[in-house]
Amino acid sequence: MWRDAVLVAGKDLRIELRSRVALWQVVPVAVLSLVLYGFALGPGRRALAGAAPGLFWLAVLFSTVLATQRSVAIESGEGTRDGLRSSGIDPAGVFLGKAAAVAVELAVLQVVLWAAMTLLFGVHLRVGWLALVASLLATCGLAVAGTLYGALSAGLRVRETLLPLLVLPILAPVLLAASRAWAAALAGSPAAGVSWLRVLGPFAAVYLVVGVVLYGPLLEAG
């Protein structure tokens, strides 16, 4: 399983490196959407600073959808889906591999996005480790749940639009918990944030297990 996961993650990341979709499309779109939120909420730097963690994670959330769509698109070539199914790879490995690739992309994205946020909204993380742990857990959760639902919508011709419908409500708790944890990290009150980690951790763990168990049947079904 682990071997297969590495294989699949390697392949997805290599394709990403070659096509640069995430780099040139997902990252700038995320940064831009931060700017747009600023636009939508109007001027007032203080209000923005307060909303910053929410907006940050909203941008990450929508990027997750984009990244997952891309991850699904890689396998949706006319023949490639069949290829993956008949390749003999352990479905759990496929799941872990694809999720890992998405997680790596999201991690890179967050670094860029964080820099942009610091610049645009003038906010600073006071409790670095809290933000980091929250980010790590949230990233895992997003990648894992996104990949699982990506498989549900893969192979459907309507995947571009079905995926967000299915995946956004699932990811909503992450949005909530991660933004609250970041708000605590920004405000410098770790105690308030730690309780949110208790949501993020189980979320990632539950979907990880669900994915490892259920990805097989899904791949079958396609």
Binding site: L166, A172, L214, P217
Partner: protein
């Protein structure tokens, strides 16, 4: 298995009985709720929504979505795999979506006078709304054309994943301080903080809606079976049409005659 898949032309008696009983008990609940039980000290007559709103929510969350999750699990588990579970899940999700929407509706009706607003961004409310969307997604997935097995698998996974939100809804009042009522009945030590005729009316309301739920699921399940059966009839028809293609297919004469001279044809024994 046979007993399950055979459907009488009329609704079985027990289903009709359940439906009737559910209707009678619902009427009884309304009567008790509106006239017999006392008004609340704080809320006045508004409290009477308590006999409707929590039972509806429980039926949606625990009965409907619980049953859907359980049957999905049983479908995914190889040893119990049968389309019975898939249909059951579909039926109870559909009913659950109705009850979930009713939960929102009654809650909003209640919220307007008590909180002064139809809607607020409270964790319980938002997670309940998300639950509705999640299962609407399930129904959207069901509409995507696929073979029954493929659809069943896909939807079973979706139901299980969506069900994760149910505990979140339940515990939302504990995890986050919310505007919404904390657990009064289904609390941790299972000792309801509600008493007397109110408690009994609430219980009755729950039983009544449960019966209504069972009736609705049974009817919905039967529709599913009938639909599948017409689907099966279709299959017979389309199989015959497909065989007929062999008689006068596009250009198959050429495929047949060319090279046929090379060797005498050995027919397949059937």
């Amino acid at each position: 298995m046979n007993a399950r898949s055979s459907t009488p032309e009329r609704l079985p008696r027990w289903i009709r009985a359940t439906g009737a009983l559910g209707a009678v008990l619902s009427a009884l609940t309304v009567w008790l709720g509106l006239w017999v039980t006392p008004p609340d000290k704080v809320q006045g007559n508004l409290v009477r929504l308590v006999y409707l709103h929590p039972p509806i929510a429980w039926v949606a969350l625990y009965l409907a979505f619980g049953l859907a999750a359980l049957s999905s699990l049983l479908y995914l588990w190889r040893r119990t795999r049968s389309l019975f579970w898939d249909r059951l899940a579909a039926a109870s999700v559909e009913v659950g979506v109705v009850f979930n929407a009713l939960t929102l509706a009654t809650g909003m009706l209640w919220g307007r006078p008590t909180w002064g607003v139809w809607w607020t961004w409270d964790a319980r409310l938002t997670s309940t709304a998300l639950l509705l969307v999640l299962f609407l997604g399930y129904l959207a997935l069901r509409r995507v054309p696929a073979t029954p097995e493929v659809r069943a698998k896909r939807c079973a996974v979706a139901a299980l994943v969506a069900f994760v939100d149910v505990p979140i809804v339940h515990f939302s009042v504990i995890w986050w301080q919310t505007l919404h009522q904390g657990a009064t009945v289904l609390n941790a030590n299972l000792s309801p903080t509600i008493h007397g005729s109110m408690a009994w009316t609430l219980l009755l309301g729950f039983v009544a809606l449960t019966l209504v739920f069972v009736w609705m699921v049974a009817v919905r399940y039967r529709i599913e079976v009938l639909a599948d059966r017409t689907g099966a009839l279709d299959l017979e028809v389309s199989l015959e049409e497909r065989w007929a293609e062999a008689a006068a297919p596009v250009g198959s004469q050429a495929a047949d005659t060319e090279g046929a001279g090379a060797a005498p044809a050995a027919r397949v024994e059937r």
